[in-house]
Amino acid sequence: MRRFVHFWLASLLLLPVASFAGGGQEGKAGEQKAAEEKVVTVFASSKAMADNSWTLRNDAFEKETGIKVDLQLVPGSEEDFYDKTDIAVMGGDTTDCIRLTNPLNIARYVGAGFLMPLDDLLKKVGSDPQKVFGKFLKKHDGKLLYLPYEQSIHSVYYNKKIFDEAGVPYPKAPWTWDDYIATAKKLTNKDKGIYGSYFVLDWEYYYYMIARQRNISAYKADRSSNYDTPAFKEAMKFMYDLGETHKVQPTFKEYRANKYGWDTWAATGKFGMICIGSWFTGLLTDEVTYPRDWDWGIVETPAAGPSGKNNLMAGGVWAVLKKAKHTLNAARYAAWVSERWYVEGGGIPARVNLTEAEVQDLLGGIAGKSRGSVTVADLKSALLQNSLGVVDEKVTGPKAKEYTDIIYRQAELYMSGEQPLDETMKQIKEQSDKILLQK
């Protein structure tokens, strides 16, 4: 029996020793001053890991500040990203920075109190956000909780090679969605496997895009769902028709079956046009990750009728998490990255202190990387000085996440041909009312 006890004592002692063997727990060292440890930890989705622009940017940051960027990988798809970060942050994770790309998630994290106020931190690292971002800054309760790294508005990007081969003149602004459809029809060539149009059918806001362009709110005054307004039905039908009626883009089932995604347009070159945010220029200028043998053009978004002359706008932000371990490094990273995201990542920054020359440079950079197929004038007229107004791209408001999830799930059923349009709209209204009017 004594030998037995010895046996167990021995194994109990071995356990902590074994834990240090390879990949063991990080020692809970005493609180080190953030400034001392030259590291900043950042949550990154799996796509970001492979994105060349991230590598370039983080290398540049390390070169300039000597602070190493340690990416915390979140495996899985983009939508699973927040599944993990939500619970991690809530459980007290000490990762420093996070990128929030969707107004929904920004709202959630602000509401959950996950974000650290940046005002003092930025002062300490010598950064002046007001000077850099100006009107693009949004404060909550007088506190600055995140920095915008881009303003994204939608444009239509088109594949010049496909246009040339079909003998179709490039699209010119201003135009309407009917023009878009007509153009797409001329480009579609089933034999060559070419479609004139492409939309990222995984993103729910396309299913109410038309309504958004007409600036119709998804909520009624009494907070119930506004989905019984005809504009939403029209918006839903629009996406369906593109694939099934006009047959200018893959049907929803085809899209799913072939596992198309948000970068398929840039990666394959089989589609004529795509309507998507300006961050997309980042893909089009990155020929390392997305090599291509065709040129692209840009033109402003078509209008959704006389009352729908609006751009869809969104923007991503960088924030520091409340339990961050290296607060000063984090603030520095957030500011640095937000200020010059566009350099490696493309897109349009949300900055107010760019000189005319710098704007020229920025656009020129994009134009240059497009191998001359896009001029600065093109970019300017499509992105900065177009004929359209501006509305928010997504639904934001109470229970927005569940609301948009309901919209998306019903849209999926409708788009797969499993549920008629009227029933779909009815379901959305009923289900979302139930959620929205709950206590």
Binding site: D86, M90, G111, R256, A257, K401, R409, E412, E418
Partner: protein
């Protein structure tokens, strides 16, 4: 030399308790920490009002409110229903298929070892690989299966949509899970079949019984304890399909494959309804427990020991 007293173990009884403590101790400790504690914590969470993202707020007790909400939630009830249907399809499918295969493999067939190995293969694949492979194979547009069907003359409109069809996705998933897990059940059945004495079959043969009779009068009754074990274990396992569903359809199309474990996950991770999610999970546990107890009671009817 063997002096055996009538109560063999009595001379060990007094010492056994302390020995048992030491033998079971580590397991018990770990079990309490990693199995019991999460369960209790889960029950606890389901009784409070922790349904928003932010600080972990466990001070407000709402007792059964989360449970009541589950019964009023049409989407949750639908998810339970789907899981139930999925279990039915899966358990029926796999028990029948594995028993059938075991009966065949029990014979002296040519190439038996090779065939057996091939049949066991799917068990070792990881779920992500399975997801990728089946998505490609069952692609309704240019996947091999539908290409083959088209070749055989099935018209294009009648080609099954497999994982993309609202009505076909759940059965397809059940089928894929059967494919994946066949090995385990087949092995267990095989082991059980080998315990059936050959003489019984020989006697039956002499009496002129056909294979039908042999199957239903000899084989099935004699392996019924195993069948029972497998049915119980398989039913429990059928609710553990989260990884498969996530990798293959993620609940879609629409909510056609949104089984309850996926629903529970989403309620917690996508909408931050943590307490609600745990209430649903506890209900699921009770449901599985009830099903198991029912099966346990019913065994007197058909299980022969």
């Amino acid at each position: 030399m063997q002096v055996r007293s009538s109560s063999r173990l009595t001379r060990f009884t007094p010492r056994d308790s302390s020995t048992a403590l030491l033998f079971i101790g580590p397991f018990f400790l770990g079990f309490v920490l990693f199995n019991l504690l999460p369960l209790f914590y889960s029950i606890f969470l389901s009784l409070v009002d922790f349904n928003t993202l932010g600080q972990i707020r466990t001070d407000r007790f709402v007792w059964l409110a989360n449970y009541a909400r589950a019964f009023a939630d049409r989407l949750a009830l639908a998810s339970y229903g789907r899981s139930f249907l999925f279990s039915l399809l899966y358990v029926a499918g796999i028990i029948v298929a594995s028993l059938f295969l075991a009966l065949l493999l029990n014979r002296d067939l040519y190439l038996r070892t090779l065939s057996r190995t091939m049949i066991y293969m799917p068990y070792v694949a990881n779920v992500i690989a399975i997801g990728m492979v089946w998505s490609i194979v069952l692609n309704p547009y240019n996947g091999p299966v539908n290409a083959l069907l088209a070749l055989v003359g099935v018209p294009e409109e009648s080609l099954p949509q497999w994982l993309l069809g609202v009505r076909s996705s759940l059965p397809t998933l059940a089928g894929i899970k059967v494919w994946q897990n066949l090995a385990f059940q087949t092995i267990v059945f095989l082991a059980a079949l080998q315990e059936v004495p050959r003489e019984l079959y020989e006697c039956a043969q002499i009496d002129g019984a056909g294979w039908w009779r042999k199957l239903f009068r000899i084989t099935l009754p004699l392996i019924s304890p195993t069948t029972f074990f497998l049915v119980v274990v398989t039913v429990i396992g059928s609710f553990n399909s989260f990884a498969l569903v996530k990798a293959l359809t993620n609940g879609g199309p629409g909510s056609a494959t949104r089984i309850i474990t996926l629903f529970i996950y989403e309620q917690a991770f996508k909408y931050s309804y943590y307490s609600y999610s745990n209430a649903l999970a506890c209900l699921l546990f009770l449901f599985i427990l009830a099903v198991t107890v029912v099966q346990w009671r019913l065994q007197k009817r058909w299980v022969h020991y």
